[in-house]
């Protein structure tokens, strides 16, 4: 049965290049595999939105059995269990323990073990039944497919429907059109022809399933977070006391981050009350940090603005995801000399301002190469806080510096219609642009002063323009 697998049938016209006609990697047929994979498929999860999140949660369970767990979207997990057999084995027992875990979680699951990743997956999917037959909530003891011997692998796969490969529909339809419905029939087909009809990837999948080719999987690494909880003996009503109570938590958090050479950019604080929903404080930092002082600084700013509606019974501090800390060179003597002590860095200042005034209240401005004055600038929320930035003299001097085109320091949010008398001092500067996006302007700009007989004459130097079509005058800026 295994003899004719992928038998090297030469295509008669030798001119046809066989795509990806790599020679089948030779492995000892009857050797015992070095790996043993356990696959579990959760049929109900296939159409759920949050399946990846759920699978991540299940990975935590799976990691009690093995150190190597891989997520197979959309609804399966792969576990390498060869290394766990000695401790948790034999295989039957480990398999049963794993299945019992899914059953305890109330998740319908189909599982199988096989010496290769794809074989285990396909076998597990095959347990679902051809038409998605509503299987039991847990695999019955006899249904658990187990095998460890490479030699029996093709035989066990042969009975599976081709649908368990989870290949795309067009490929499966091609196979059905060829009259292939079971894996056994597929494996009997010539390798080169298969590669031509289905693509090299299909052949490679078969190689992986038969453990002829190694397929590395990405191991699931749990996302670490800092979590600390603190319950108070008495209820706290004062924010100042709350800050004091928070200090050890922040210190622990900073320690936690330091040990991992990581930093956070967000922290969440949950204040629990006796009744009612918990107060949640979310704080973002301008840059990744693990400094206790900075974290405390921002948190106390936030707390200072927080109106406590009810006494607090306890709190929880959860960090955002950990990010690697990129070390910046620090001034060795910064903390020692009197002048440098207590000084902030620019990110610290920005995030302290943002923590109290709001994210959008602190921004930068950037100039855009654009003729229309109102489109020639924009707000910048992401500030370049990197300390490496120096003033670049060259670019600063290359800036447009034409005395005939003065620009005012203040630009009004919208042009203001003018009717009082003006004394024009300089101009015109014709700006005609933007016809392509429907916001076209055709204006003549002047530097002007309000004439002394104007109602509220303060004689300010103004930037005015005359709309060329309507001949009306507008105020657009002030030279402050």
């Amino acid at each position: 049965m295994t003899a004719d697998l992928f038998a090297a049938e030469q295509m008669p016209p030798a001119a046809v290049p066989a795509p990806a006609a790599t020679p089948a990697p030779q492995t000892a047929r009857h050797a015992r595999s070095k790996q043993l994979w356990y696959a579990v498929v959760f049929p109900e999860m296939a159409h759920q939105e949050q399946s990846t999140v759920l699978l991540r949660g299940l990975c935590m369970h799976a990691q009690q059995f093995t150190s190597f767990v891989s997520i197979e979207p959309p609804n399966a997990l792969l576990l390498e269990i060869k290394g766990s057999l000695k401790l948790l084995g034999p295989l039957e027992r480990l398999h049963a323990d794993l299945d019992a875990r899914w059953q305890r979680l109330g998740l319908p699951a189909h599982s199988a073990a096989a010496p290769s990743t794809l074989a285990a997956l396909w076998l597990a999917r095959g347990g679902v039944g051809p038409g998605g037959e509503p299987g039991g909530t847990a695999p019955r003891a006899g249904q658990s497919l187990q095998l460890e011997d490479l030699g029996t692998l093709p035989g066990r796969l042969a009975g599976l429907p081709i649908a368990c490969t989870a290949w795309d529909i067009s490929r499966l339809q091609t196979l059905r059109a060829m009259g292939v419905t079971r894996m056994g029939e597929l494996l009997r087909l010539p390798r080169a022809g298969l590669a031509r009809r289905l693509g090299a990837a299909a052949v490679q999948d078969l190689d992986i399933a038969l453990a002829r080719q190694f397929a590395p999987r990405r191991a699931f690494v749990p996302r670490e977070r800092f979590y600390a909880r603190c319950d108070f003996e008495t209820e706290i009503e004062n924010v100042a006391y709350l800050e004091k109570a928070l200090e050890p938590l922040i210190a622990r958090c900073a320690q936690f981050l330091r040990e991992r050479q990581a930093g956070v950019q967000a922290l969440r604080l949950k204040l629990r009350h006796r009744a009612g929903p918990a107060t949640r404080v979310h704080l973002g930092l301008a840059s990744i940090t693990s400094e206790r002082r900075r974290l405390m600084d921002v948190l106390s700013q936030k707390l200072g603005r927080l109106g406590l509606e009810a006494p607090v019974r306890g709190m929880e501090l959860v960090s955002g995801s950990l990010q690697p800390l990129i070390a910046a060179s620090l001034d060795v003597f910064a903390g020692m000399t009197g002048a440098g002590a207590g000084r902030d860095s620019a990110p610290q200042l920005v995030e302290r301002l943002r923590a109290r005034l709001g994210e959008n209240a602190v921004y930068g401005v950037a100039s855009i190469a654009e003729h229309r004055p109102e489109a020639a600038w924009r707000r910048v929320q992401e500030l370049r806080l990197a300390s490496a930035l120096r003033v670049d003299k060259k670019t600063a001097h290359q800036m447009m510096n034409d005395p005939r085109m003065p620009r005012p320091v203040w630009l009004l949010a919208a042009p203001l219609p003018l009717d009082s008398g003006l004394i024009l001092e300089q101009g015109p500067e014709r700006i005609e642009s933007g016809w392509w996006d429907g916001k076209g302007v055709a204006r003549d700009y002047y530097v002007a002063r309000q004439s002394p007989d104007a109602p509220q004459s303060h004689g300010a130097k103004l930037w005015v323009f005359q709309e060329r079509r309507s001949k009306r005058w507008y105020l657009h800026g002030k030279f402050a």
């Binding site: 200042l349 209240a361 930068g364 930035l389 800036m399 447009m400 005395p403 001092e425 130097k461 002030k478």
Partner: protein, 235 residues
């Protein structure tokens, strides 16, 4: 050698005013003001520089500008200093370019105009606080942080206590604090080391020094405040 030693014992003969002034024991007001401990930034106007102790805006101090309307060239007075503050630290090479913070400006600061004047926009921060209290707090934070070269603050009004706090913050952070307030605060006491009054004259803005620490108050003849180094004729 011998001759010199003898001469110092002789009673000094007072011959002229120049001799008196050359005597190191005579304390001169002008000299005292000409050697401030802190560096100064030029205002870009020689007539104003000449009136300020040290020949420019004092750093690490609070400057108060009283004016009722915007558009009198009040920001223009400080732009050369802002540019210089960013340049100077750069040439020393050791430090990062310092930040410039504008708090509660009356309108949007127009980026092309500032770039035209040579301001490094990547180091300009605009802060829009919701209240005067928050504006003062933000100004104090920025002044004391030590990362800002200058903090410009626009306010309708504030009290003496807060001004004192701002002054202390400016001194500790080594930053130049500029506070723009309406003219009605003219007769209130202020701890600012420099107080200016800007009013509209016949043709151009008029600048009065109300208070100058280490200098003489009085009106300053600015000529016209150029916007970019040129004077404009009527079209």
């Amino acid at each position: 050698m011998c001759f010199v030693a003898v001469k110092t014992w002789m009673p000094r003969e007072v011959s002229s005013l120049a001799d008196i002034l050359a005597d190191a024991r005579v304390w001169k007001l002008k000299d005292a003001s000409a050697a401030p401990a802190r560096p100064v930034w030029s205002t870009g106007k020689s007539s104003l520089d000449a009136r300020l102790p040290g020949g420019g805006w004092p750093t690490a101090s609070l400057i108060e500008v009283l004016l009722d309307d915007t558009g009198l060239g009040e920001v223009q007075l400080f732009l050369p200093a802002l540019v210089e503050s960013q340049r100077r630290t750069d040439s020393s090479g050791a430090q990062d370019a310092p930040w410039i913070v504008w708090i509660a400006p009356p309108h949007e600061p127009y980026a092309p105009a500032l770039a035209q004047q040579g301001i490094e926009l990547g180091r300009l921060l605009v802060v829009r606080p919701a209240s005067a209290m928050e504006a003062l707090w933000a100004a104090e934070q920025a002044l004391a942080s030590g990362v800002c070269a200058a903090v410009l603050l626009w306010l309708k009004g504030t009290d003496d206590r807060w001004l004192r706090r701002l002054k202390l913050a400016a001194e500790s952070g080594g930053a130049l604090g500029v506070l723009f307030r309406p003219e009605r605060h003219r007769f209130e006491s202020s701890p600012a080391s420099l107080r200016l009054l800007m009013t509209q004259g016949e043709h151009e803005a008029r600048l009065d020094l109300l208070k100058v620490q280490g200098g003489r108050p009085g009106p300053v003849d600015l000529g016209s405040i150029p916007m970019d180094g040129t004077s404009f004729g009527s079209p």
